[in-house]
């Protein structure tokens, strides 16, 4: 977990409103300043996660996302802009985050997470937020998060529905406990509004802030699901699988 770093007077002024939060205070802000978060893809979910973490004063963000900005990104990927069409997504994300928080340290990686780079990328962070669309990326990150004992916030959506949980390795169900296999028919592109991915992203960012600063009740062994058509929210109980190939006890 992060090593707290004392705040400057400028930072006290910027974060004044959240430092007023009773169980967070300046000690919590110092932990965020010392923290590093890996955000896997800065698309509809990850853009909002990264923006909220940058605004909240997390010290370092590692952003992993391949490819260039496309027109179909712009309904939800709030760190991408029209004037950046055809240019690298992580560069657009880095520029916009720096406009918001010039103190933020950013490691912009123009790659998606894979089996080849997951170990290195996860090792650079205190916590991971999984915003990736492909299960291969998600399972690779989950394995490394468990191996390196790093908390990982898992977020997902489809249409107006969403799912979020926070994995604390050794204590809670991991992604593979919950879903040992990917859906065979899963497609990288699917129906969603930016307001849905943004809602999930804000909740995921708040989970990251709580875990890093050590306050509140993260979604540990709880799967938050919601349907923004009906505005129904549910917190479902989940559990570790003793025989999980990723986090289960060796036989």
């Amino acid at each position: 977990m992060p090593v707290p770093i004392p705040l400057t007077d400028e930072e006290r002024a910027v974060y004044e409103w959240q430092i007023w939060v009773d169980d967070f205070r300046e000690a919590g802000q110092e932990k965020l300043k010392g923290a590093s978060v890996l955000v896997s893809r800065v698309g509809g979910l990850g853009s909002v996660v990264a923006y909220e973490l940058a605004a909240a004063g997390v010290g370092k963000l590692v952003l992993a996302h391949a490819g260039n900005v496309k027109p179909s990104d712009l309904n939800r990927q709030l760190l991408m802009t029209h004037d950046w069409l055809g240019r690298p997504r992580v560069e657009s994300a880095e520029q916009r985050l720096k406009e918001l928080n010039p103190r933020l340290q950013i490691v912009a990686v123009p790659e998606n997470v894979s089996e080849e780079n997951a170990e290195r990328l996860v090792s650079e962070a205190d916590l991971i937020v999984d915003c990736a669309p492909l299960f291969e990326e998600r399972f690779a990150m989950n394995r490394q998060a468990v191996l390196q004992k790093k908390p990982i916030v898992e977020c997902a959506m489809y249409d107006l529905d969403a799912q979020i949980t926070t994995v604390i390795p050794g204590q809670t169900a991991c992604l593979s406990c919950l879903f040992p296999e990917k859906p065979p028919e899963w497609r990288r592109e699917f129906p969603v509004f930016g307001a849905v991915s943004g809602t999930v992203g804000c909740i995921a960012a708040m989970e990251a802030i709580k875990v890093l600063a050590g306050f509140g009740e993260p979604l540990a062994n709880r799967l938050l699901t919601f349907d923004l058509r009906s505005m129904r929210f549910s917190k479902l109980a989940i559990e570790r699988k003793p025989n999980c190939p990723v986090c289960g006890e060796p036989a």
Binding site: A156, D159, E181, E189, V200
Partner: protein, 92 residues
């Protein structure tokens, strides 16, 4: 009063229409799945494989409790209970 099965968006097209909910008669979780199979066989196949086992990318919940063990599947659903089908989805 009956039991409500919530059909997620990924399975709705399999259900043959846009129904978000299927109403079934009280019984066990297994009974509820059999009623789903009768009414919406394609949606049922999205939940259970050819052996009747729940697919590995799907979880079922009764109200807020995970259905995992054989005893969970035999659990009697009371009128007003809700069965949630929760397939894996992702970010993007």
């Amino acid at each position: 009063m009956s039991v409500r099965i919530h059909i997620p968006p990924t399975l709705r097209e399999w259900a043959g229409n846009a129904d978000k909910e299927v109403i079934v008669q009280p019984g066990s979780v297994q009974d509820a799945l059999i009623q789903l199979a009768d009414r919406h066989p394609a949606a049922y196949r999205g939940v259970c494989d050819e052996t009747g086992a729940v697919r590995r990318h799907v979880n079922l919940f009764v109200n807020d409790s995970l259905v995992r063990t054989p005893a969970d599947f035999e659990r009697t659903l009371s009128p007003g209970d809700e069965l949630f089908i929760m397939p894996a989805v992702s970010g993007g």
